[in-house]
Amino acid sequence: MAEIMLAGFGGQGVLFAGKVIAKAGMEALKNVSWLPSYGPEMRGGTCNCKVIVSDGQIASPDIAEPDFLLAMNAPSLDKFEGKVRAGGTIIMDSSLIDSKRTFRKDVNIVCIPAKKIAEKIGDGRLGNMVMTGCFISRYGKIPLAKVVDCMRRSVSKAKSSLAELNIKMLKAGYAF
């Protein structure tokens, strides 16, 4: 079982990234839950979602101590860093958060310039998928092929070029 928290600004695709993990997790590990924060904010406000993937039953979908934190902006990292389980992993977008800041010593830190990588590939808005790819590689229990397959199946034919671009981002994050 893994408890994953994704957090950032509204509009960064935090909820979507969580959905991609949940959907692939559902096929790889059977049980998942996806719990969004919801509020009056649409864009610019803070936003997070909590995803649990498990081969057993999931009791509470709320997460107190995540195993993984995917932080996509500085306020989210400040807010949730302290909650991560000791020995857990923080993946943070170092193109948006200063990687020279001090971190907790009892967690693994992955600094990935997700937004910059996404810009280089062709669309800076898809940093969320680079982060997701990076998570998939560090977690290791959901095959990347499963995520790619889910992405292709959940996008309509008319938008298949978008799916392919997202997949490129996933792969770049995975290879990081």
Partner: protein, 359 residues
Amino acid sequence: MAEKFLMKGNEAVAEAAIRSGCRYFFGYPITPQTELAAYMAKNMPKRGGVFLQAESEIAAINMVYGAAGAGARAMTSSSSPGISLKQEGISYIAGADLPCVIVNMARGGPGLGSIQGSQADYFQATKGGGHGDYHMLVFAPNSVQELVDMTARAFDKADEYRMPAMILGDGMLGQMMEPVGFFEPKEPEELPKKEWATDGTGMKRKKNIINSLYLESEILERLNIERYERYAQICEREPLFEEINTEDAEIIITAYGMSARIAVSAMTALRKEGVRVGIIRPITLWPFPSEIFARRAANAKAFLCVEMSMGQMVEDVRLAVDGKRPVYFCGRTGGMTVEPDAVYEEVKRILKLKTAGGM
């Protein structure tokens, strides 16, 4: 049931309603249940149904009254403040003995309150809400899958007993996504014919009348007594609950909906330490599964009721336990969620108390 979809609770209820043969949905948007209406807006027209955004919650429930009177399966949904507005209509529907399904994805109250999930509408759902002597069937699912299963059941039972049924969820359950499977869809034509419906005589039968106004008190009293005879049958036949680890339990945690899942997290941690804790999860809140509490009170030493409220179901638990054992309460309010740790600590505290430990 083979294919699993990843869906929000709100959307899953809507899909389950359409598959149950509901073709009339009347609603008015409110967080955190808006996805339900949005799903209906998108899908009802494609499946031969009507989605109508009413001018208010009050209008919506009265449209349900009309559609139900004509014999159709009809639904409305809202969240706490909107459900308060519908109470007059619900009382009329109950008074006219009409079946329908009302969904409440509850949020923090009173007043406009907050938009986060809450369980503070238990009293309103189970003890009336509207005026007069009546009840609704109240189902309180704890997962997206159970939302689907209970929506189907709510339509069937509402028809069977000719009364309104409520799905009582909360914002968290409505907003979360989980894998869910669906039953085969039913067409409205496949459903049993409602001989009492005002769907046109075609000059072939006597007029049916749907009404909740009885100026002669003797008649109204007789109708109310007959309705309560039906309620007595429901209390006997229809309570639903889930039990986990209660056989050897010293302390029984009781909770419904999302709180019950939080209770499971706490129970798992306590069981690891050898603490004998079990759970009774009422699935129907009306009829309340009183009998199981009375039975378990013979062996359990104490009960702990966990709710996202200041304590509402705890009153029914106390009535059911009937003074045989102490009943404690642990809750958060205003849209806050009870944390498993708080339940864990409360169980530990109860164990230390003489009333529980000294027996």
